[in-house]
Symmetry: C2
Subunit: 363 residues, 2 copies
């Protein structure tokens, strides 16, 4: 049963109620408008973390035909033997013109990639671009072993070639839409739909295409993404807010506990778990925390206990002298938000709640 | 031995010599400069292609603890059973302000992802951004089953749970740096280095981190990326130049043969193979083709026969009344270009050769 627990923690914000305030410093900036061209000072991608792995089973293919030696040289090496890099984390970033000093790092959830934060399934602007338009340097990661962050496929090749037992295969997971449905809170059960649902359900096929096999369950704790986020905050060099979602909801807390340098705030959107309270709450008294939730969590067998646990954590942080905000969009006049708040029809209004909290709280 | 051939075709441009000309229409545009902010009219991502797959082995995990039913509802579905999407292709795009009418689609090579076209390993500007700065709408894909384009992991789960035989495991391939070395032409053999090498070798670790397991060998021909590129050209809607590299070098030809709509040009950078000549050359008489190569191919046992085959193809296209250009950077005063021309120290000068050809040739 031990393996089942992370599985059930797969999907998943917590905070004390916050008041609304206006976005500071953005009005009238052409680079910030959503209707004018976005002015990018610098963009690109890089990797953090990772380790070298030497293997003699780089593929499950038969040994390749030896290539002829180069002129005057020796035969080229066996393609199945050599050194590869694993456990590095891919980071794609945009630094807008006239950037603010605080950077945002966006960390996707289970079975997804950084694409979560790009265009919404129905083609509207995602949070990655919107935050850049609001002048925040924005970094989108692919968790280790997913998307553009390589997974280690050598155990699969080793099983295929008889060098390793079948039970050593990595336990990847592809989430089916029928199972995801109630966890994403499109409705209480598949295929029912909440009448006020904010998710653009007509474009659901595009969300399902964003999903990739998730090998997070094959790693011992902590997932290599956790130290990689610490390395990223150090590389960015200024104040960083880690923005996580669902399965990665707990990661900013784990990263901060390991390596708090430059981490100036934690935004955890519908985390599948929060740090234990009161045990761990004191450790987060010095970093502002926002836990953000959508609607219909009470009728969700999956979410109801999680939101309760996270509310207890936020209360414990505040009792320890910290600053934890617990925000439920449904309590702020926004009805029908799904688990995929960053893709919901009101995603920009939800993003504004996050930016208001950052503008008011993060120093 | 049949399986070995695609393996040896793994890495890999062809053309008749072209004269140099100047870039038209870019001077003085702030959006095109490499030193001023880049003005982006629209950016985002989406998927093309893909199919629904129903499976009862979505994971190799033990059956999850059944969740309690929702209030008044039935129990949620088994997480191992359901519908997922596979074989879709991820596309990330940037449309600059004052965009030109022709779009560029960038297709990476073996064991890599779209990250090939982003920042170079030593952190300089990659071709994706440079082309956007030169006002081309630019689309970067992740080939099917790699990067943000999901691979189908259900056979792995089925083997792990005893439902499928071990030999049904997909044959993924991770390329080791020792094997890649001579194919990337850092030197004739590992770890020798061409004295005039243009690749930023001090940052090689970042290139190795770009590599991901490649499952292209598990697909029957044509790879699902081929029809997906056709769908992408149709979706873009105007003239498109497909720019491929290495293992994907042949894909634009296969796509064009299937579905030529909107494909206004083919740029194939160091393809591992070209269409058969004279057999297939006539099919490409109506589309301009640029085959581009770097330096030191003559001393490469891997590349020498490939460049010969591609030169024969280009000659056959031209004999059939077509317009195939064969460009070797080393014959244009640029010495030491590696197989990774888009990441070499002179990558912008090489990009300009491509843009000059497009400006002169593509209508």
């Amino acid at each position: 049963m031990k393996k089942i627990i992370p599985f059930l923690r797969t999907f998943g914000l917590v905070a004390a109620a916050v008041g609304l305030s206006v976005l500071a410093g953005c009005a009238g900036m052409p680079a910030s408008s959503v209707d004018t061209p976005l002015a990018i000072a610098k963009q690109g991608s890089f990797f953090v973390g990772g380790r070298e792995l030497q293997s003699n089973t780089l593929s499950g293919l038969p040994a390749a035909r030896p290539m002829p030696p180069a002129a005057g040289g020796s035969a080229p090496p066996d393609p199945n033997i050599g050194t590869v890099s694993v456990e590095q984390m891919y980071v794609q970033y945009q630094i807008p013109a006239a950037a603010l000093p605080t950077s945002l790092v966006l960390i996707h959830g289970c079975c997804l990639t950084g694409a979560s934060w790009e265009s919404t399934p129905d083609g509207r602007m995602g949070w990655a671009e919107y935050f850049a338009r609001r002048r925040y340097p924005t970094y989108v990661v692919d968790q280790v072993a997913r998307g553009r962050s390589a997974m280690n496929a050598t155990p699969i090749a080793a099983v295929k070639t008889g060098k390793l037992a079948v039970d050593q295969l990595p336990a990847g997971y592809m989430v089916g839409r029928e199972f995801a449905w109630s966890i994403f809170r499109f409705g209480d059960e598949y295929p029912k739909v909440h009448p006020d649902l904010q998710f653009p359900l007509q474009a659901q096929g595009e969300l399902w295409k964003q999903m990739v096999p998730d090998y997070a369950f094959s790693f011992p704790a902590p997932n290599p993404t956790v130290p990689a986020l610490g390395l990223l905050a150090q590389r960015i060099g200024g104040p960083v807010v880690l923005v996580s979602h669902s399965q990665s909801g707990i990661y900013p807390f784990l990263t901060y506990a390991q390596s708090p340098r430059n981490i100036a705030g934690i935004v955890s959107i519908e985390p599948t778990s929060c740090p234990a309270s009161p045990g761990d709450a004191e450790r987060f008294a010095a970093v502002p925390v926002l836990l953000l939730w959508g609607d219909h969590t009470e009728s969700s067998a999956f979410w109801a206990p999680r939101i309760r646990q996270c509310r207890e954590f936020a209360d414990a942080v505040n009792r320890a002298g910290g600053n934890a905000s617990f925000l439920v969009t449904a309590e702020r006049g926004m009805k029908g938000n799904s688990h995929m708040l960053m893709q919901d029809k009101n995603n920009i209004a939800v993003a504004d709640l996050v930016l208001q909290w950052i503008g008011r709280t993060v120093r």
